[in-house]
C-alpha cells in the first residue's frame, strides 16, 4: 500500500512538472512570436554597453536615434569606468547640440560582468548565472519598452531577463540585437544565442544576411 502511494506521489509530481514545463514552453513560444505594432510617441530604451569597442559602437548607433527613444537606461559592467565616461560625454554632447534634449533623462545602471576577456568557459557559466540573478531585478524595475544590445557577454543575461518579463506576463519587451560590425562572416557567441530570442536581429555585412536570412541587413549602420 505504501509503495503504491509513493508511486502515485512521484507520478503526480512528474505530471505537475510536465505541466509547468509545457506551460513555460507555450509562453516562450507566444512571447517570441508576438509582434507589437502599436505606434507610440516615445519608447523607453535599455542600452547594454559592454567593454570598449562595444560601447563605442552602440553609442555611434544611438547618435542617430531621435528623442522619441527616451528615457535611456544604460547598463554597464560594474568594473567598467571607461564606458560610464563615454556615455556621459555622449549624453552631454547630445544635450549641447540640441537644447530641447536637455530634459531627456538618462540613467546608468551597473551589473556584474558575465565574463571577463579570456575567462575560462566553465567559470563563465557560474558568473553568467550570477549575472542573471542580478539583472532580472533591474529589468523588472526599469520595465523598458525596448532593449538594445550589440554583443558583449553582459547582454545575454539582460535579454533573457527581458524575455522572462514577457513569459511571466508582466511586460512584452522588444529585443533588438545589432551584431558588431566586426562580425563579417560569423556570428559572435552572444549573437548565436540571441538570434533565436530577439525580435529584430541586425547584421552589418551581406555574408551574414546570406547565412541567416531571417536577419535584417541595412549595410553598415555604425
Amino acid at each position: 500500500m505504501r509503495r503504491f502511494s509513493a508511486l502515485m506521489c512521484v507520478l503526480i509530481l512528474a505530471a505537475a512538472a510536465g505541466a509547468v514545463a509545457a506551460f513555460l514552453i507555450l509562453r516562450i513560444w507566444v512571447v517570441l512570436r508576438s509582434r507589437d505594432f502599436m505606434p507610440r510617441e516615445s519608447l523607453s530604451i535599455l542600452v547594454v554597453a559592454g567593454s570598449g569597442g562595444h560601447t563605442t559602437e552602440i553609442l555611434r548607433l544611438l547618435g542617430s536615434l531621435s528623442n522619441a527613444y527616451s528615457p535611456r537606461h544604460y547598463v554597464i559592467a560594474d568594473t567598467d569606468e571607461m564606458s560610464a565616461n563615454k556615455i556621459n560625454s555622449f549624453e552631454l554632447d547630445r544635450a549641447d547640440r540640441d537644447p530641447s534634449n536637455m530634459y531627456t533623462k538618462y540613467y546608468i545602471h551597473r551589473i556584474p560582468r558575465s565574463r571577463e576577456v579570456r575567462q575560462s568557459w566553465p567559470s563563465t557559466v557560474f558568473t553568467t548565472l550570477h549575472s542573471m540573478w542580478l539583472s532580472f531585478p533591474l529589468i523588472h524595475q526599469v520595465k523598458p519598452d525596448l532593449v538594445l544590445c550589440n554583443g558583449p557577454g553582459t547582454c545575454v543575461p539582460i535579454c533573457v531577463s527581458a524575455l522572462l518579463l514577457g513569459i511571466l506576463g508582466i511586460k512584452k519587451v522588444i529585443i533588438v540585437y545589432v551584431e558588431s560590425v566586426c562580425r563579417v562572416e560569423t556570428l559572435s557567441l552572444s549573437g548565436k544565442i540571441l538570434f533565436h530570442l530577439s525580435d529584430y536581429f541586425i547584421v552589418q555585412w551581406p555574408a551574414l544576411k546570406e547565412k541567416y536570412p531571417k536577419s535584417v541587413y541595412l549595410g553598415r549602420i555604425v
Partner: protein, 135 residues
C-alpha cells in the same frame, strides 16, 4: 617630418607595444622619416619610457577621452583590430595598418581586418610583420 600613432583601444596588446618600442624598431621608424611616435597603450602591462631627443619623440599614455586629435595629427595609424579604432582612423582618411592580436578568443578581429583589406581600406598583419609593413 612624420608622426605615427599606435593605438590598442581599451585592450591590452603588450606584444605590439613591446615590438614597436624596442630600440631597433625605434631606429628603423626614425630611418623611415618619422620623428614622432605616439603609443596609446590601454590596459597593457608593457609601459615604455617616453623620451624626447632632438630628432625623435616618443609619447606614451593609456587613455584619452578622445583619440581624434592624435589620429588627426598622425601620418600613419597602427591599430589593433578593434572596430572603433579602425572606423575612427578610416573616417579621418589616415593610412591604416591593423595588427591582429593572436591571443584573443577565436581571433574574431581577423574577419573585419580581412574584409576591410579586401575592400582596399587598410593593410593587416601580425606583430611579427608589423615593422615590415611600415614601409
Amino acid at each position: 617630418m612624420k608622426c605615427a600613432f599606435v593605438t590598442v583601444g581599451t585592450t591590452s596588446f603588450d606584444d605590439l607595444i613591446a615590438c614597436v618600442s624596442a630600440p631597433d624598431s625605434l631606429q628603423k621608424i626614425e630611418s623611415l622619416g618619422y620623428n614622432r611616435l605616439i603609443l596609446q597603450i590601454g590596459r597593457g602591462t608593457v609601459v615604455p619610457e617616453p623620451f624626447s631627443t632632438e630628432s625623435f619623440t616618443l609619447d606614451v599614455y593609456r587613455y584619452k577621452d578622445s583619440l581624434k586629435e592624435d589620429i588627426r595629427k598622425a601620418d600613419l595609424v597602427i591599430s589593433h583590430a578593434g572596430a572603433g579604432s579602425c572606423l575612427e582612423a578610416l573616417e579621418k582618411g589616415k593610412p591604416l595598418v591593423v595588427v591582429i592580436n593572436e591571443k584573443l578568443m577565436n581571433n574574431h578581429q581577423l574577419e573585419l581586418a580581412k574584409q576591410l583589406h579586401k575592400e582596399g581600406h587598410l593593410f593587416y598583419c601580425t606583430c611579427r610583420k608589423v615593422l615590415a609593413s611600415w614601409k
